[in-house]
């Protein structure tokens, strides 16, 4: 009876030290690759490590070092392919930089966000990369995250927050997209989808207006069709647009998901996206090029942006000044079929 399983303590540096006939300090030096240890001592230690199957305990090291190798990765909606791509970019870079991501999917819920931020702090993360949930504001955030916590805000700004922001240049990106539509001859260009509470929406809508203004087209508020940033939202917004007395001949969409909904609404009405109504999206998610028809969209190099978040965060962690770390990424327009450019070019030739 009893104690056949002797509590199974895992093997530690001290066990290795004993096995190799050295002190724990020497084992520590070997582990760090210090050149202070003699070659054959090193070998004896390494042999012992191998033999006993020792695994380094980073938690214990962190306790002493007080700064851990964990980074909180707070994502507003992992189910959205755009954010999944971003997460993969962050994750990859983090491992490369010697950190390890703790995932928290807030599902656009600010309460859940508050909860996970607390949890991350308890787990002593070295820093946090966060795409804020819809409706997160600077004031609430200030109570949840001390300004001393290295933090990068990504993809959606939080006005008034002191943390660096990294994201695409939404305004320039949509300006270029809408300018492209105008160049194709469109004069009534609608804007589909988006939630006013998100800065991304404000920026993309501003770019749309910029392009219109630059072409001398007066702003018509009736051409703005707000909708949830989902496929159904896009479908619905497109329906509303088509129901107008004078529907737009082209639409620029908040993102690719909305654009996919819009193209679907058109197809179901027997209209051909790109021929009857031009459609452009934003984000260039992987699905965009497989849409029917393939989506013209604005690429922001999401994965690269994720990597940049990770890299900038490590700088913050090392104590670099947050001031220089904000960044707006260049975008580029990917012309496929949904905007009708190909057709127009054929016609011209």
């Amino acid at each position: 009876m009893g104690d056949q399983k002797p509590a199974r303590r895992s093997t530690t540096m001290i066990d290795i030290a004993r096995a190799a006939g050295v002190s724990k300090s020497t084992v520590s030096l070997v582990l760090k690759g210090s050149d202070l240890v003699k070659a054959d001592t090193r070998q004896r230690v390494e042999a012992a490590i191998e033999r006993l199957g020792y695994v380094y305990n980073r938690g214990a090291a962190n306790l002493r070092a007080s700064s851990s190798s964990f980074v909180g990765m707070v994502i507003s909606d992992l189910t959205n392919p755009f954010f999944a791509e971003l997460a993969v970019g962050i994750e990859n870079a983090l491992y490369q930089l010697g950190f390890v991501p703790i995932l928290a999917n807030t599902n656009e819920d600010v309460e859940r966000q508050a909860y996970v931020l607390r949890s991350l702090r308890e787990h002593n993360v070295a820093g946090i990369i966060m795409s804020p949930a819809r409706g997160a504001d600077a004031w609430a955030l200030a109570n949840q995250l001390p300004a001393t916590m290295p933090t990068i805000i990504t993809m959606r700004r939080i006005p008034g927050s002191p943390f660096p922001y990294i994201g695409p240049d939404n305004r320039a990106g949509s300006r270029e997209a809408v300018a492209h539509l105008l160049r194709l001859g469109h004069r009534r260009v609608g804007y589909l989808g988006g939630d006013e509470k998100i800065t991304t929406q404000q920026e993309r809508a501003a770019g749309w207006q910029d392009a219109l203004a630059a072409a001398g087209i007066p702003y018509d508020p009736d051409l703005m069709f707000p909708a949830p940033p989902t496929r159904d939202g896009g479908r619905d917004a497109m329906e509303r647009a088509l129901a107008m007395a004078r529907p737009p001949t082209a639409v620029f969409c908040y993102n690719d998901i909305v654009a996919m909904g819009a193209t679907r609404a058109l197809s179901m009405r027997g209209l051909a996206p790109g021929r009857d109504v031009a459609v452009i999206g934003f984000d260039d998610i992987a699905e965009a090029e497989h849409n029917a028809p393939p989506l013209t969209t604005v690429n922001a190099d999401t994965r690269e942006m994720g990597a940049r978040c990770a890299e900038s965060l490590t700088r913050l962690i090392r104590g670099e000044d947050p001031a220089g770390l904000s960044f707006a990424g260049r975008t580029r327009l990917i012309v496929r079929e949904s905007c009708g450019a190909a057709r127009l070019e054929r016609k011209a030739s």
Copy 2:
């Protein structure tokens, strides 16, 4: 000069104890909600915690407890909406159970998988939930994960591995889907996509053959079209199927992504999926119902499956016997338009 920043040690239980005029042990008891402390002592301590903005350091606690609150979540491809959904299910349940997920995306690379498994062990995770990368085998895994590490394998089996497996009942699911096609009158039912190295593929193909056999249709190996489990793979496989002398009149696909590629290939040829060729997928990813046409597919309640992984892992961690923990989830066929059932029903009435 110098030391204007006095190293900024964070406030600890000892600081709280001093501030409240009690011992650290008492603070610890308060934190655990023990009823051994007198009410007004508790209040003094809680006030001090509030006042000093104390944050519990779980890492330090884990060091002593030797079992941490971290769980490794190893995902083969987060970019795949199916796995993103799974990850969200796992993540959510994990937080509810008091654990915190460390994310590792292996990107189907067994070397990266080996690397992250080591890293997770170093970070002293309490357990691991893993959807193995393509090509992971039991032998290699045995060297990377001790059998004592609580581990759940999900979505793809590793034959010969001692760890519990949780996933959908692939064979029954595809049997039902193919039976549905046969019931609609099809006699030449192809199988599109999938990688022989993944058990999922073997199981789904077996279900296809089961249904054929049950209907007395001899197995025709020419109707099997292997392809990478991507949209392009599905397109390509569909093209190959159509190029046959006697093409199949219906295809069952390895997963929804492949099925979406297949429907696209049909549309681009001017054929109508569901009318000219019936198509069924597997997984019921969110995109499936927004496909053109909406995909008939096999739902396996991915998110729920993720939650079950988390729940079973905590049982393993608590020392429960792994033997009873394997689980094959019920699937159900979601009939939409791509299989042509709606049309047939209209015709019949």
